[in-house]
Point group: C2
Chain length 495, copies 2
């Protein structure tokens, strides 16, 4: 017996030593390097919620609810391939606990549903077929599994370890594990270290993380949003170990830092962004057809998310038939074509931002004790902060300095919009405030207008200039607005 | 004396025989061939009206009104060159009678104004410099010149002949003469034949025409609009001879015919389209900055206007400084870059329209005794006819048959909009009716949505599909409208 125990222990140690276990570092380890190189993935939300037209369900929906009529996971991955994604990140189990594979440890899964296809297998097989890497999302929070409610927290941790063992031993290589729902328990109660070590045993290069990875103070839950984290070694792990940072659905600042603390040591952590291709933020597809995001917005968010050694996953969910809708697939494919994405090529980069942190002033600023809405917000590299004018009737203008030595030929503008939540409680529409506007530049003492438009600018306006300019100042001029104009970012770019 | 007279007569006959005088024909003559090959020109409205913020003036504005502060005709032609235009069509005299050159026959010209630059010379010189051809617009109607009011109509004809002699002998080759304002007299009172012969004497290959060239009945003024002229040898010259057809600002039908009648004989006549780059139809630039047309609309109108051996001139007017505004120039340059225009290359063509005249039906049609708003209007090749639904609240859909054998990858949609004239009496804004819509196709018995959008489609929506499709039917589905939806054209194209 002793010999067996010793052998097991040695085997474990051997595996563990092989693993890319997170070490204090100022540069990416092998797992992180691979992750950064992947860069662009397709997120697939699909499951029992798809058929109930909801985002979340509580684990009581009968398995019969799940009934795709034309389930076609090959089409999902083919779409990912056509759109230039490098990996597919599949929901294997959401908060409702319904499993997309035939799990030995629960009957709340596809195997007991009317359509028994092992979706995890089908997607992983298609990934092999089309040359894409395969990643999985797994919810820590489980609203169905009985052991979840056991006072002995390890019971449910064991359930997760069993299920993850199934997943990591049955479907070939899994490049990433995305854990979610940690808010339902204390961070220490999830057995994250056990999960991490199990996964690394199966695949040392699998990148593992838990949503809301980073907090302000060690051991507390409150956190600064990623759009404001511009300092190294200031923030702390909430879940350790994690190989990368998650904070769905936040965007990082363009001056994103990579060094985070745990027990006094500093670790390198890239960020993985999560966005929906839907303009209305539905993660699971709904019966109603909802519009997709504009191509210009998707392109700029792509650059924003990936330029800085970070990653982007775009959620493209199948509908109740079990297929991705054609118009949705087409938008992702159009984006891939526009960006010239190819598996054997590095991801394309945006141009140089010549406007970052240049002094900016506005003729009108919304009064606020913290001066939150000052003009400088438009080029601080954050999609969280914004300039706002005092009212809608003032013809507000915002001016920023530029270096005349810097050429530019592209301007991107992200307007703040009023979000209106629709009756479903999840989807939103964004209402523009600015209805007519112009961009002027000052060159050799003369102002000239290089762009003007008498309609809303959309979710991200990209002005592509067919000439390069040099200017000492740039002026954004609101001509007409229906509410106080407000802008997250105006980026002047040499592309 | 006799000898001198004979010599003069012989010289005239010699010159006349050299001229490309219009002959009955079913194909273009040399002047027309050159015109078709030019194809794409920049129209320049500039003159005394520019400084009075009006479209038309009555000839009483004092010459001091004309006072550009930074007159730069080189910039106009450089812009034309950068935008890929092949010729520049300059207003030399508008209805107000103010001349853009130093004319011996009037003092109502630049030479007596505060800024004496001979604009015709400056533009023709710049055309030589940049390798573009030079064309002129000259108004028949003259609200200033005293001889215009003389009961002897020949007096004013002589004035015109003198001025045109100045123009055709002082500025090098002139490829086109665009005559306007004929509505103010009877067609026979303008001495068009004298003008024509004079011009042909100077340049046999100059293409000459008078606005509103063609009428319904010989000798009468009423005319069918070009968008409905789909038959050869059915319509008549109003002004003979003319080398091409004009009808500002109408668009031809895609099934445009070229044979027109005069005295029982049939003549070949191409069409020259006139559009404004401005979204608001101002021909002379105004003090206020007005938005330019959308790039997609400009691109589709370019194809529509030039595909059928016809021509397009786009009006890009300088402002009161005497320069074309930068944002306006940039839109033309962006269009030229998108189209890949180059002087040494033939003009690009649109793809094949696979939807033309295919049977179409709609779930809702606006009731009208003439059945003017039937579904078939959307693919009849006319931007004059349109489908309209009965009301705004019905979720109207329009379906058309397609041949499954025909591939397509592009759809262009021209929505009818409500035009609202602005206080200046000239400029207009176009208000969309459709706010949310989708396009579905039927393939192998299954409908799928290939496009949807929850915002107005703009002045011409171009849907570029990253895949080619074959379908037996196409459905345009209005989801939300603020007035009865109405569509001029839905073109399904293999590009």
């Amino acid at each position: 017996m002793r010999t067996v125990l010793l052998a097991t222990l040695l085997a474990c140690l051997y595996n563990f030593s092989q693993a890319q276990v997170l070490q204090p570092s100022a540069k990416p380890n092998a797992a992180q390097q691979r992750m950064i190189q992947r860069g662009y993935g397709m997120f697939i939300h699909f499951g029992i919620n798809t058929f109930a037209d909801v985002e979340w369900s509580d684990g009581t929906l009968p398995v019969e609810t799940y009934h795709p009529t034309q389930l076609d996971p090959d089409q999902w991955v083919r779409t990912a391939r056509d759109a230039g994604f490098r990996y597919v990140l599949l929901i294997t189990k959401h908060h409702d606990g319904f499993c997309l594979w035939d799990s030995k440890y629960t009957t709340y899964d596809v195997a007991t549903s009317p359509v028994k296809t092992d979706v995890v297998k089908a997607v992983s097989d298609a990934c092999k077929k089309y040359g894409l890497q395969f990643a999985i999302y797994y919810s820590l929070w489980d609203r169905h599994e009985p052991s979840y409610k056991d006072p002995d927290k390890q019971k449910y941790v064991d359930y997760m370890l069993h299920q993850l063992t199934e997943l990591f031993t049955s479907y070939g290589n899994i490049c990433e594990l995305w854990l979610d729902g940690g808010w339902d328990r204390k961070p220490g109660e999830w057995g994250i270290d056990q999960v991490y070590q199990l996964v690394k045993k199966f695949n040392p290069n699998c990148a593992v993380s838990v949503n809301h990875t980073i907090v302000n103070e060690e051991g507390k839950r409150q956190a600064t949003i990623p759009g404001e984290m511009t300092e190294d070694n200031k923030y702390f792990f909430q879940y350790f170990p994690s190989d990368f940072r998650l904070w769905d659905p936040q965007m990082i600042t363009r001056f994103d830092k990579k060094q985070y603390l745990h027990n006094g040591k500093s670790y390198y952590l890239p960020f993985e962004h999560t966005i929906c291709i839907s303009d209305r933020w539905n993660w699971f597809e709904k019966s109603a057809q909802l519009p997709v995001r504009e191509l210009d917005e998707l392109e700029e968010l792509f650059y924003w998310s990936t330029d800085n050694n970070n990653c982007l996953v775009v959620n493209i969910p199948p509908d109740q038939t079990g297929r991705i809708r054609e118009y949705t697939a087409l938008q992702a494919i159009s984006l891939g074509k526009r960006l010239g994405l190819a598996l054997n090529k590095p991801l394309p980069k945006n141009g140089r931002f010549i406007s970052s942190h240049k002094p900016a002033t506005a003729t009108s600023v919304y009064a606020d004790p913290k001066n939150q809405y000052a003009a400088g917000a438009v080029n601080d590299g954050s999609l969280s902060s914004r300039w706002a004018a005092a009212d809608k009737d003032t013809v507000a203008t915002l001016e920023m300095e530029l270096s005349p030595a810097d050429a530019f030929n592209k301007i991107s503008i992200f307007e703040y919009k009023d979000a209106k939540t629709l009756p479903d409680g999840f989807s939103q529409i964004r209402e523009p405030r600015i209805r007519e506007y112009a961009v002027d530049i000052l060159t050799n003492g003369v102002w000239e207008t290089i762009f003007m438009e008498a309609k809303p600018m959309g979710d991200c306006k990209v002005i592509r200039l067919p000439r390069s300019y040099h200017a000492s100042r740039l002026r954004f001029r609101v001509i007409k607005a229906t509410a106080p104009p407000s802008i997250y970012e105006i980026n002047v770019i040499d592309k």
